[in-house]
């Protein structure tokens, strides 16, 4: 019995030993063996004790194999690689630099930059926001902007999303010395333009006469730019891609850019120097396009409750002339929130409407003195009567209930931020024409923000404008048009007519002769 048992034990031990030897056999490829691998795997399972181990055992086994190949002691020198996140962190660290100048702040009556965290708090109730941390970074970035540029007043305008990165946009008042500078610049530009035009004209004259025929197309006279601090150029805008990166000042906008921006539909990329490839061609790069869209969005969507702003008080009873400016009403008492969330007539635009011309105030182009040749003057005289009808936009502080409906959708939606605790809710208005534009009001506070793609709602679809008719190669006249060959019927009819005429003539001649004879 014992012998038998011993024998079987022996054979079993032998087979086990054989199997162990098999498992210990090293792979020719990886120089690993299964025995050690399984030991490590079981040790890992015992250490970590994951639940449902059997489902993930393959992955654990793979992980163990990977750790074998990890090169821990490399003789190569460590090559430091800075990631984008690290670079940004370096720059954002400057936002958190704290300067000890407490005494100065007490003197200031009004801080030039807004309380962004409070705005963020209200916006979050409205279901809008950029995230609390991002808002805090923007807050610090705005502080940095105000301090470094010495801006008198600044607010967070919003954010425009781009395909590669986004723009954070700050709106600021012009400094007084800045206004003068800008005006000088613009006059310089105009002078340069005139000079270049004059040069071109001279060049044309001096060239030989065998040139191909010149285009007779004369561009319509350019609408003059609005002065700094007026209309579309009332504010200056600063943009940056990420809070902490340097703020870039956008150039002022001119009417031609606004008109062109109205006709195209392009995504922003996030690079200010990116050329805009579109039809009709856009005059300028993305910075200018961005500025034009900002002007359009501001004019369309900056709203506040009635009474929050008041028009500048002027003497006399000139009520018909539209006011150009409005200021914050210090006596504004606040309106009941439920009422604001209910009717649009309580809300009013506080930025001037942009006319078809691309300006806020209409300018008569026909009376503008121009040093052009006579032909153009003739043209202008013909077109004059049509053009000189002044466009009048809605005056400032027009209630939203008078906004036109486009594509059968009401332009605004209002709501309360909360249904359960409506006692402490805030009133929110959302623009349906400019998706992403919001305004809220609660008590004496009111703010606007735009976060979106910077594009207007198009309704059914966008139709790019068709190219104009090509110029004719030659003037069409009777000499070069082919006449239709007459058919047999036509010829016969013609013949009859001719015969009749002849007969009539003969009759007439005969009577004439008779008369002559009678005269004789």
């Amino acid at each position: 019995m014992m012998d038998l048992f011993n024998e079987s034990m022996d054979s079993r031990q032998q087979s086990a030993a054989a199997f162990k030897a098999f498992m210990l056999k090293k792979s020719t490829k990886s120089n690993l063996n299964l025995y050690d691998h399984l030991t490590r795997l079981l040790m890992k399972v015992m250490d970590e004790r994951p639940h449902d181990v059997v489902d993930v055992i393959e992955d654990m086994s793979r992980e163990i194999k990977l750790t074998v190949f990890e090169d821990k002691q490399s003789t190569l020198r460590d090559l430091p690689q800075t990631t984008a996140a690290e670079q940004l962190a370096e720059q954002q660290r400057l936002l958190f630099a704290w300067l000890e100048d407490v005494g100065q702040e007490e003197e200031l009556v009004e801080t030039p930059f807004p309380n962004v965290s409070e705005i963020g708090f209200y916006l979050e109730q409205a279901g809008v926001g950029l995230g609390r941390e991002e808002m805090q970074r923007i807050y610090l970035a705005l502080k940095q902007l105000v301090e470094s540029h010495g801006l008198p007043r600044c607010r967070l305008w919003g954010k425009i999303l781009g395909t590669e990165s986004s723009y954070i946009i700050a709106e600021a008042d012009y400094r007084e010395d800045e206004q003068v500078e800008e005006e000088e610049q613009s006059t310089d530009e105009a002078a340069e333009q005139e000079e270049s035009e004059a040069k071109e004209a001279e060049e044309n004259e001096t060239k030989e006469k065998d040139l191909p025929p010149q285009s007779i197309y004369k561009p319509p006279p350019a609408v003059p730019k609005e002065a700094i601090g007026v209309g579309t150029n009332k504010f200056v805008y600063y943009v940056c891609n990420e809070p902490g990166l340097p703020w870039v000042k956008l150039p002022s906008v001119n009417p031609a850019q606004i008109t062109a921006a109205r006709q195209i539909r392009k995504f922003f990329t996030g690079r200010l120097d990116n050329p805009i490839v579109s039809y009709p061609p856009f005059p300028g790069n993305e910075a200018i396009y961005l500025r034009a869209q900002i002007a359009r969005i501001s004019a369309g969507t900056q709203v506040s409750p009635q009474g929050f702003y008041q028009t500048g008080e002027e003497e006399g009873d000139e009520e018909e002339t539209p006011h150009d400016n409005c200021e914050v009403n210090p006596d504004f008492e606040g309106l009941p929130v439920a009422e604001m969330a209910d009717s649009l007539s309580i809300w009013a635009h506080h930025i001037q409407h942009i006319l078809q011309q691309g300006r806020c105030t209409w300018v008569n182009l026909a009376t503008k003195p121009e040093d052009t040749n006579e032909e153009e003057d003739d043209d202008e005289k013909e077109e004059g009567p049509d053009e000189s009808e002044p466009e009048i936009g809605p005056p400032l502080l027009t209630p939203l209930s008078q906004d036109a409906e486009i594509f059968n959708t009401p332009p605004w939606s209002t709501k309360l931020s909360s249904t359960l605790t409506s006692q402490h809710a805030i009133a929110v208005v959302r623009s349906n024409l400019w998706p992403g534009a919001y305004a809220y009001a609660v008590g004496k506070k009111c703010e606007n923000i735009y976060i979106g793609w910077g594009l207007k709602c198009t309704g059914k679809g966008y139709d790019p404008p068709l190219p104009p008719q090509p110029q004719k190669e030659y003037p069409s006249g009777p000499e070069i048009t082919e006449s239709v060959d007459p058919s047999v019927e036509d010829e016969e009819a013609m013949k009859e007519v001719l015969e009749e005429q002849q007969a009539a003539q003969e009759d007439a001649e005969e009577t004439d002769e008779e008369e002559e004879e009678n005269d004789d």
Binding site: D59, E124, E164, F267, T409, S413, T421, G459, G461
Partner: protein
């Protein structure tokens, strides 16, 4: 995005400008637990919000055992009372495609009427088609899921029984991988049966690569890939369905997508790139 991790995931997609206020978040957390029990969902996702002229629709998606096939969408106005959306069928999709592309009203029983133009003898037979807004909503949600739902590669595995389930050992894409569009997949039944060369097939794993990749989308450039939140979170935005935002934190399991928009497809995309 999973309703269990709303507090953090909503912050990560907030760069697109939309978020939920605290009242809605808390209501959603409470009601999603109840939904999960009542409908026997494995998990409940916040799908997004469709903005209407009068009211906004909140939409959640319940997922069953199979993450692609067992889906059910529900809508609500207050994040508490949920109503099941009908499953979109081909006939519904066709009916809705005849509608205009105006904004949603915010009333599920609103009826859109399609007036037929009298064109030839066939038009006389067809009655004016009537479509409720609920149908339109169901179709829109279905279309967005079909065309713009995104998952990172490896987050889901298809088991040998062809069940699609969460991959427990998914450790997230690495920073370098997260930068490439071909590491993101459409979370729908694969449609593009594109022949791949053996060279491309080398890295593919049939358990992970059973979905279409975003980089094959037409037109090229219909996705915007950026790093946000101090350049630590990878954010993808669909330019075809403006309002769809996807986020993924590299080297973690966190990923998800949300749609907040007016529910209209950006048909002008070719002009805008």
């Amino acid at each position: 995005m999973d309703t269990n991790s709303l507090f953090c995931s909503l912050e990560l997609v907030a760069g697109s400008g939309h978020t939920l206020n605290v009242e809605q978040r808390t209501a959603l957390e409470t009601s999603s637990a109840i939904l999960k029990r009542n409908y026997k969902f494995h998990r409940v996702l916040l799908w997004g919000k469709i903005l209407g002229l009068r009211k906004d629709y909140f939409i959640v998606q319940g997922r069953g055992e199979d993450e692609i096939k067992d889906r059910k969408n529900l809508y609500s106005f207050n994040c508490v009372d949920w109503f099941v959306l009908p499953t979109a069928t081909d006939s519904m999709i066709e009916e809705v495609s005849k509608l205009g592309t105006g904004q949603f009203i915010g009333d599920p029983s609103f009826v859109y009427e399609i007036n037929k133009r009298a064109e030839g003898p066939e038009a006389v037979e067809e009655e004016g088609l009537k479509v409720t807004e609920e149908t339109r909503l169901a179709v829109t949600v279905h279309q967005i899921d079909e065309e713009a739902s995104v998952v990172p590669r490896g987050a889901f595995v298809r088991s040998p029984h062809s069940l699609v389930q969460i991959n427990r050992s998914f450790g997230g894409l690495s920073d370098a991988e997260a930068n490439k569009l071909h590491n993101y997949l459409h979370f729908r039944e694969a449609k593009n049966v594109k022949e791949k060369s053996i060279l491309e097939m080398g890295d593919l794993n049939p358990a992970l690569d059973f979905l279409d990749v975003l980089s094959d989308d037409i037109p090229k450039g219909s996705w915007s890939l950026q790093f946000e939140c101090a350049r630590k979170v990878c954010v993808l935005r669909s330019l075809l369905w403006l309002g769809l935002t996807f986020y993924h934190v590299p080297m973690t399991q966190q990923h998800g997508y949300i749609y907040t928009g007016d529910g209209t497809k950006n048909l002008n995309l070719p002009f805008m790139l």
